[in-house]
């Protein structure tokens, strides 16, 4: 199998053809099996693992290690990608797999310390926090409300989405071969803006209901509503959107389908990024319009349009993967964090509707 960047379209699995559809179906079937049957519990116990979730964690971590190795082979000539890949794989292996496993083994409650609200949507539910040791509860409350937002204000969304997050980690490693399949059309951009803020609204409403419920009297209507919302969100967003579709569609829609269209964390961090210190600086007048940056942007951002217009890029959806800058053959793009912000505005051709 060819694995190089230059032969991307020559590889049948990277081409949205029959093989890619098959692969996608297989991935989705796996997630359906995982979420909606107990079948994998038997597999897990055969492997002497505590539950199917541990088994899933093992597979997930292995997929990231193998994907990360290929990623390093392809892009490891860049220090940014070297360190970022190592960070993602390390966070997943240690915080996302080994630590919970050890805690479990010791008979302690186990936590995934690298996931925060609203990605981990139930972590701020009063019921969830109440059951945690105080220090752990503080970690999640502080991380969700202060830690990650502050990091993102100064470093951009990439600090979380391309260096820490396990979902992003899978996309950046196992999902890397399909990053060029993200839809670049204006239509996709419009859909993304609606869908991602809808999920965010849903998660906030759900949190409100659950908090309200904690203070409500027994038998009040809010209890039912909170319960229904939780189970709807858990099924539709937690399992189907982020799991079955989010990963299942890698070979067809690119590696960041969930991050782009669904993740409520992305919605919040994106807004912070927009007003924060991160941007992609464009070197004026050096772009040859080749299209590599736009093609390899996993968020479907038309980077080239900005590069051609000489406009610095400050897009809420940019996860700061840095691939656009890396694949640009003319070194036109640079991920930067700076207080002094350059001019950024609309792109010319879109204001051209005369």
């Amino acid at each position: 199998m060819q694995s190089g960047l230059m032969t991307t379209y020559q590889n049948p699995t990277q081409n949205r053809n029959g093989l890619a559809w098959g692969l996608s179906a297989l991935l989705m079937a796996f997630y359906v099996d995982l979420y909606f049957t107990d079948h994998l519990d038997t597999v897990a116990s055969a492997l002497h693992l505590p539950s199917k979730w541990t088994f899933y964690g093992l597979i997930y971590t292995l997929a990231m290690c193998i994907g990360g190795w290929f990623m390093l082979r392809k892009h490891g000539n860049s220090a940014y990608h070297r360190w970022r890949t190592i960070s993602l794989v390390a966070v997943q292996s240690v915080l996302g797999f080994l630590l919970p496993l050890v805690l479990d083994f010791l008979g302690r409650p186990s936590y995934y310390f690298s996931y925060f609200f609203p990605l981990k949507y139930d972590i701020l539910f009063p019921g969830t926090l109440k059951d945690m040791p105080v220090a752990v509860a503080c970690w999640f409350v502080f991380g969700s409300l202060v830690g990650v937002p502050t990091l993102v204000y100064f470093q951009g969304k990439r600090a979380y989405c391309s260096w820490i997050c396990g979902c992003g980690g899978l996309a950046e490693t196992f999902g890397d071969p399909w990053r060029h399949l993200s839809d670049r059309s204006d239509r996709a951009w419009r859909i993304e803006q609606v869908s991602i803020y809808t999920v965010l609204a849903l998660v906030l409403v759900m949190l409100g209901l659950v908090v309200g419920d904690a203070y409500a009297a027994d038998g009040s209507a809010i209890r039912d509503l909170a319960g229904h919302t939780k189970s709807f969100y858990g099924f539709a967003i937690g399992s189907v959107f982020s799991g079955v579709l989010g990963t299942g569609l890698y070979p067809l829609m690119g590696s960041r389908f969930w991050c782009r269209f669904g993740c409520p964390m992305a919605a919040i961090l994106g807004l912070i990024q927009k007003f924060g210190q991160f941007r992609i600086t464009v070197k004026k007048d050096m772009c040859i319009s080749c299209g590599n940056c736009s093609a390899y942007c996993e968020m479907g951002i038309d980077v080239r349009a900005y590069a051609m217009a000489g406009t610095d890029i400050r897009r809420a959806s940019c996860v700061g993967c840095g691939l656009c800058a890396h694949v640009c053959p003319r070194g036109v793009l640079k991920l930067e964090t700076r207080a002094a912000l350059g001019p950024h505005g609309k792109i010319e051709v879109w204001t051209l509707d005369l």
Binding site: T7, Y80, K283, G291, A295, E336, D353
Partner: protein
């Protein structure tokens, strides 16, 4: 009621489409017709190599949205213009169609320069290819199969791109450079050697001083015959190279042959359309030219086309303003460019003398003034090679002020360099501030001056 003016643009590549957009921005009512024979939608010729190898699809290289023509109400004509009648302001297309214009822009770009060996293009089956148009690329794509051997002739920027993708496809690739060093027009001998070593490291047979003068057919293969040695002292010898395919990458020439006899003046030397400073044709009122096909004035005063993507874009915009009656004057600012030699990125700005080729040539002729420490007109060159990779920096200084920059293997903001040149900054100041022009990805070690850096007289 008077009809809105009819602007017709021949060529929908960067010069043509930028002109069309600029026209539409200024004139909402104008009729704008864009004619092209190559592809219905503008694509980046600069990414032909990426389409060839599979890093990009052709659609990825389309640099404006698919619905651009609809959005901006351009009339698209797919066809080839065969001739022009400037007196009647009419174009004739190969299918017999005629199109009348009020104002015309010729943005017809260029085609590959042909290899000058007699009989070559009559051969069947055809084994010689080029790499300039989509058709060229598709022809080579169909012919080039893994295991074949190929000679890429011409040590320029397109040649090295073709060599890279052919090698990647699994062809035994011979890269033949006539000059004593690779790309002497912009690299000095040390830089050339860095690039040549990098090319060889990739497994491409890079031969300098290799001038092919003829070929022989032997069975299904082609034997190349040529000379070796410096250009002024060539040694006749067989190249001992037998290949399946030949790719001619010895430059491009304006696609203007069809203008012969039309009355539109074309330079006999370059084939470029003779233009006024506002890019209007010198001989046909209402006819403008932009991009690869237009003669423009270079900073040294010479008149020739400037075959670059960014200048084609700028010329398209300037020509559009001129077509609308603005008083414009096309002037190329400080020179800059960038390229990529396999994995090695190259950025340049300002004046970089044609040193490698000339130095090597002059070293052969005693009494030359360049290269050594003979103090040539206040020129000085600062240079360093960063060990451990193909990374170099060169700064050219005249009378104490920096004049030009050349960098391999790292990224730089040419705009900052251009500003320093305009500000006539001294070398010491520039070296102390070099990191401000750095444009590498994060986590890359900053620029520093190595103990091995040299400063010599001459450029």
């Amino acid at each position: 009621m008077t009809q809105p003016p009819h602007f017709v643009i021949v060529g929908n590549s960067v010069a043509g489409i930028e002109a069309a957009i600029a026209l539409r921005k200024r004139d909402a009512a104008a009729r704008i017709t864009v004619i092209s024979s190559e592809h219905p939608h503008p694509f980046a010729r600069t990414s032909l190599m990426y389409v060839f190898c599979g890093q990009l699809s052709l659609k990825d290289t389309q640099f404006y949205p698919e619905d651009l023509y609809d959005r901006l109400r351009f009339v698209r004509v797919v066809g080839r213009v065969r001739s022009i009648d400037p007196a009647r302001r009419t174009l004739h297309l190969t299918g017999g169609q005629t199109i009348a214009y009020d104002t015309l822009l010729l943005a017809v770009g260029s085609t590959a320069k042909r290899l000058p060996w007699p009989g070559l293009y009559d051969e069947t089956p055809m084994f010689v290819h080029h790499f300039v148009t989509l058709e060229d690329m598709r022809g080579l794509d169909a012919a080039a199969r893994p295991g074949m051997s190929v000679a890429v002739i011409g040590g320029g920027l397109v040649g090295i791109e073709v060599a890279e993708v052919l090698h990647l496809r699994g062809l035994r690739t011979h890269f033949l450079v006539r000059e004593p060093a690779y790309f002497p027009i912009a690299l000095d001998s040390a830089e050339s050697e860095v690039v040549a070593a990098h090319i060889r490291q990739h497994g491409v047979d890079c031969r300098t001083n290799a001038s092919v003068t003829a070929y022989r057919k032997e069975g299904g293969r082609v034997s190349l015959v040529g000379t070796s040695g410096p250009l002024d002292r060539p040694v006749d010898r067989p190249l001992e190279l037998s290949v399946d395919l030949v790719v001619g990458a010895i430059g491009v020439t304006p696609a203007t042959s069809w203008l012969a006899g039309s009355g539109i003046a074309v330079s006999p030397d370059t084939g470029g359309i003779e233009t006024l400073p506002n890019l209007e044709s010198t001989t046909a009122p209402g006819v403008f030219a932009a991009g690869d096909c237009a003669q423009v004035t270079w900073i040294d005063g010479s008149r020739r086309p400037e075959q670059l993507w960014y200048t084609a874009r700028d010329q398209g915009r300037v020509a559009a303003a001129a077509m609308l009656g603005d008083d414009v004057n096309y002037r190329r600012g400080t020179w800059y460019n960038s390229a990529k030699f396999f994995d090695v990125e190259y950025t340049t700005a300002g004046f970089i003398p044609y040193s490698a080729g000339s130095a090597a040539l002059e070293s052969a002729s005693p009494g030359s003034t360049s290269g050594g420490t003979s103090g040539c007109g206040g020129w000085q060159t600062w240079y360093q090679h960063v060990p451990g990779g193909p990374v170099t920096q060169r700064i050219v200084v005249r009378d104490g002020a920096v004049k030009g920059f050349n960098a391999l293997g790292s990224r730089w903001d040419h705009q900052v360099w251009k500003r320093w040149i305009a500000e006539r900054r001294p070398l010491g100041w520039v070296l102390a501030h070099m990191n401000e022009a750095r444009f590498d990805e994060e986590l890359v070690a900053p620029f520093r001056i190595l103990p091995t850096a040299t400063l010599v007289d001459g450029a």
